[in-house]
Amino acid sequence: MKAKIVITPKKAVVDPQGKTVRNALEQMGYQGIKAVHVGKYLEIELDGDNPETARKSLDEACHRFLSNPVIEDYKLEME
């Protein structure tokens, strides 16, 4: 089983990395880029065959450790 987790900065948090990447894209000639937000992607490989049990456990791990709820949002997908 595989879990895919995307962690992104909350909108309220200033994302200078995102802004810098956006500016660089613009300077490189890419048009119409309104905003860039830089986050993290995690892939977690798991034993077992019950995605729902795994999801619950990983959801807790996401909230408790893998993301910081003060500054980040996360999306968790089980495969």
């Binding site: 309220a12 948090v13 200033v14 200078p16 450790f65 910081n68 003060v70 500054i71």
Partner: protein, 225 residues
């Protein structure tokens, strides 16, 4: 006074912290490895700077789950004094012992320079001895020291009248350090332990440590000559 200086894998300001409180300020101090589960007879705990666990995942995110942090939480819950410096501040916010979080510096640069700190909360164990109106010249060295917290938290932190140009990392409200509501846990990005000897460019950092020392009644403070 007995200081406990924590050590996580890749802490690197532990020696400076121990040196400051033991050799410069004459207290007893010992290192506490992150796997230890007791702080012994510590009167105060310093969570030092560095790059614990390589700053992997997020700064301080892994260190906060080290076994020793259970003891630190208990110590703090019982009113013990805890001071987090730089990475230590990050560990304390990740551990929920202080509110908010530290994120990447606004200009994406690592700042290594002296800055000037103004005391906004003079009635705390970490600031009580700082002379009124005195600006502390203290070095910083960080890439992720920009303080962030939600509106509700910010409203509880006292605002200081500081100019934005004096703010090296974009921290909201120009915050360099905070303490908890109970005032026994504090964290700051600057390094007071690197400013206890004039040879290093400033000894203003010692005001923070002498404030801590002053909180224990009838404590004899031995000052190194």
């Amino acid at each position: 006074m007995n200081f406990a200086v924590l050590q996580f894998p890749a802490s690197n300001c532990d020696q400076d912290a121990l040196h400051a409180v033991r050799d410069v300020l004459g207290n007893s101090a010992r290192y506490v490895w992150h796997k230890e589960t007791s702080l012994g007879d510590a009167d105060a705990v310093i969570v030092p700077g560095g790059f614990s666990y390589g700053d992997y995942l997020r700064c301080g995110a892994i260190a906060r789950f080290s076994p020793v942090m259970q003891a630190v939480k208990q110590f703090a819950d019982n009113g013990g004094l805890v001071l987090g410096i730089c990475n230590g501040f990050q560990v304390l916010t990740e551990a929920g012992l202080l509110p908010g979080a530290l994120v990447r510096n606004r200009d994406l640069q690592f700042h290594c320079e002296h800055i000037f700190l103004k005391t906004v909360t003079p009635d705390s164990p970490f600031t009580s001895k700082i002379p009124a109106g005195k600006w502390l010249k203290i070095p910083i060295a960080h890439g992720e020291g920009c303080y962030f917290a939600d509106e509700e938290t910010l409203a509880k932190l006292r605002a200081g009248n500081l100019t934005d140009t004096a703010n090296p990392n974009g921290s909201l409200m120009n915050i360099a350090g905070i303490c908890n509501e109970r005032r026994n846990v504090a964290g700051l990005m600057p390094h007071p332990e690197r400013a206890c000897e004039p040879l290093l460019g400033s000894d203003d950092g010692k005001w923070i440590f002498t404030s801590i020392l002053a909180t224990l009644p009838n404590e004899t403070v031995a000052q190194a000559a």
